[in-house]
């Protein structure tokens, strides 16, 4: 055997059973020496809805950044849809990122464009010449409940509405995986609940959803899969979990 065991490709199971996202012994050490993730192993399947919970600095955002290859794993391997992305060349990253729909805590909307233009922008830059652009934009804005705000500008909307625009933009190209990094971080409880309902609805349509959060109420109410991270390690992975371990006290 001339090929070292570690170099050999991991045999993937049949596509239907294959996880959409899988981490194999992933560690991330930043250039300044901080270890953000330690030996993370996890698998997320098509149609899953996962909460990624943990305190600030636990490693949630690093995990999200590794998924879209904004950062590269120091050791270990990450597979998306059966493709290893840890050593993917830079030129292939656009295609990888098109599999994801991503929203952030700070919405990242363009204030010089209307709601409809913000959503259309995602399609214009990834699929120039897309037919029926207007219809697609209207449809996705209808899903997020903003069909009457098409021509408004982001600063004329509330925080919750702006996050809905960001969700619509992340959805318009029909991604396989929906990543939400603290999507309710800036919102009041009622609005947060509305956003989570929307993410559940998206998941119900078959899209895999991964939501990094430290919104305890939401996690406890929804009762879906919970992956808890502490100090860069996955300390808990429960199919119908809560924000804290059973019996764990709140500080």
């Amino acid at each position: 055997m001339s090929v070292a065991l570690a170099e050999r490709p991991i045999m993937s199971p049949a596509p239907a059973l294959r996880p959409v996202i899988s981490f194999h012994g992933v560690t991330k050490v930043y250039p300044n020496g901080t270890t953000a993730l330690r030996d993370v192993n996890l698998a997320v399947h098509q149609g899953d809805f996962c909460f990624l919970v943990g305190a600030s600095g636990a490693g949630k955002s690093t995990l999200v950044r590794l998924l879209i290859r904004e950062e590269t794993a120091s050791t270990g391997r990450i597979f998306i849809d059966g493709h290893e992305i840890t050593r993917m060349p830079h030129r292939k990253l656009p295609k990888l990122r098109r599999k994801f729909g991503i929203v952030f805590q700070d919405y990242k909307l363009l204030n010089t464009r209307t709601v409809a233009q913000n959503v259309a922008f995602a399609l214009q830059v990834t699929r120039p010449g897309q037919r029926h652009l207007r219809e697609k934009v209207e449809e996705v804005l209808w899903i997020v409940g903003l069909e009457d705000k098409l021509d408004k500008y982001p600063d004329e909307l509330s925080g919750g509405e702006q996050q809905r625009v960001a969700i619509a933009r992340a959805l318009v190209h029909r991604p396989r995986i929906f990543l939400a990094d603290e999507p309710t971080g800036n919102l009041d409880p009622d609005t947060s609940w509305g956003i989570v309902q929307l993410l559940l609805q998206i998941n119900h349509r078959g899209t895999t959803v991964l939501m990094a959060t430290h919104n305890r109420e939401v996690v406890d109410l929804v009762r879906r899969r919970v992956i808890a991270i502490e100090d860069g390690r996955v300390i808990r992975d429960e199919a119908q979990g809560s924000y804290l371990r059973e019996g764990e006290a709140t500080i």
Partner: protein, 297 residues
């Protein structure tokens, strides 16, 4: 084809939109680049004008008069003239006989008075040479001195000092002009790069979103490069216009003061082309450098 057209339209549309939306920064960039192109164009045109004036002077300076001895026979003079005419270094040779020399000299009233007083014509006949290169004048001078039919007392008349000085002035001016143009171009590239970097920085969210939704690097880059090209083109057209207006006025003013500065249309056209090419290249390359660091994710 449809996708390519749409991508192209997007790039042009975005570039135009960005240019208008950031009109202040865009115009500052155009103004800076225009000013530098104006200085480069002006420096090159000024050097060229001085060069052509000096070239004209040099042409005048590339003449040598070979005085012939009074005893030389017409046949030997004709023979010598033919030999010079066949020399590839010579442009033209004309024979000036004693009468013509006297008439030429008589244009100065003092000499005319002296000639009248003398009663006879002491002025020698001469062969007037126009040579291609100033450097050859010395060789013709020594060749003439070894030719029997040449006047031994005053063999030739030319001005080696003026020629040397002219040549130094020409090369110094060309060198200085070239160095100034080069320095200005380097400065302009740095300024343009920073201007565009400021413009790119103002739109970093847009770039970040484009990268996040999966736009390719070139798709992100093109609008900025086109914007740089638009800026460069505008700067070149404006500075080119001002340079030519200035050049025309300068030539007119020079001609009024009897200094013969020729209006060189073909050089002007070549310079305009160079300014446009330079503006476009500096704009595009500056944008490329400016946007590069924002594409690393």
């Amino acid at each position: 084809m449809r996708r390519l057209g749409a991508a192209l339209w997007f790039a042009v549309h975005t570039a135009g939109q960005n240019f208008r939306r950031n009109l202040g920064v865009s115009l500052a960039g155009v103004f800076t680049m225009g000013l530098i192109l104006f200085l480069v164009g002006g420096a090159l045109l000024f050097t060229h004008s001085v060069d052509s004036v000096l070239q004209a002077q040099q042409a005048k300076a590339s003449r040598i008069k070979i005085y012939l001895s009074d005893s030389a026979s017409l046949a030997s003079i004709m023979d010598f003239q033919l030999r010079l005419k066949n020399d590839p270094r010579v442009i033209s040779v004309t024979f000036e006989n004693k009468d013509q020399a006297a008439r030429e000299a008589a244009q100065n009233p003092d000499i005319q008075a002296a000639l009248n007083a003398l009663g006879s014509n002491p002025l020698p006949a001469s062969l007037n040479l126009n040579v291609r290169q100033l450097t050859d004048l010395g060789q013709f001078d020594s060749m003439a001195r070894n030719t029997p039919i040449v006047d031994k007392t005053t063999a030739t008349d030319y001005n080696p000092d003026v020629i040397g000085k002219l040549r130094t002035v020409i090369s110094v001016i060309s060198l200085v002009g070239g160095i100034i143009a080069l320095i200005l171009l380097v400065i302009s590239l740095v300024i343009i790069m920073n201007t565009i970097r400021t413009a790119v920085y103002a739109r970093r969210t847009e770039i970040e979103i484009m990268k996040l939704v999966g736009a390719t690097d070139w798709f992100v880059r093109w609008p900025f490069i086109l914007e740089g090209v638009i800026g460069g083109l505008l700067a070149a057209v404006f500075s080119g216009g001002i340079v030519f207006l200035g050049y025309k006025l300068f030539v007119q003013a020079a001609q009024r003061s009897l200094l013969s500065v020729p209006f060189d249309a073909s050089y002007s056209a070549a310079l305009l082309f160079l300014l446009v090419l330079g503006g476009v290249a500096v704009g595009a390359f500056g944008s490329y450098l400016g946007v590069r660091r924002f594409l690393s994710v």
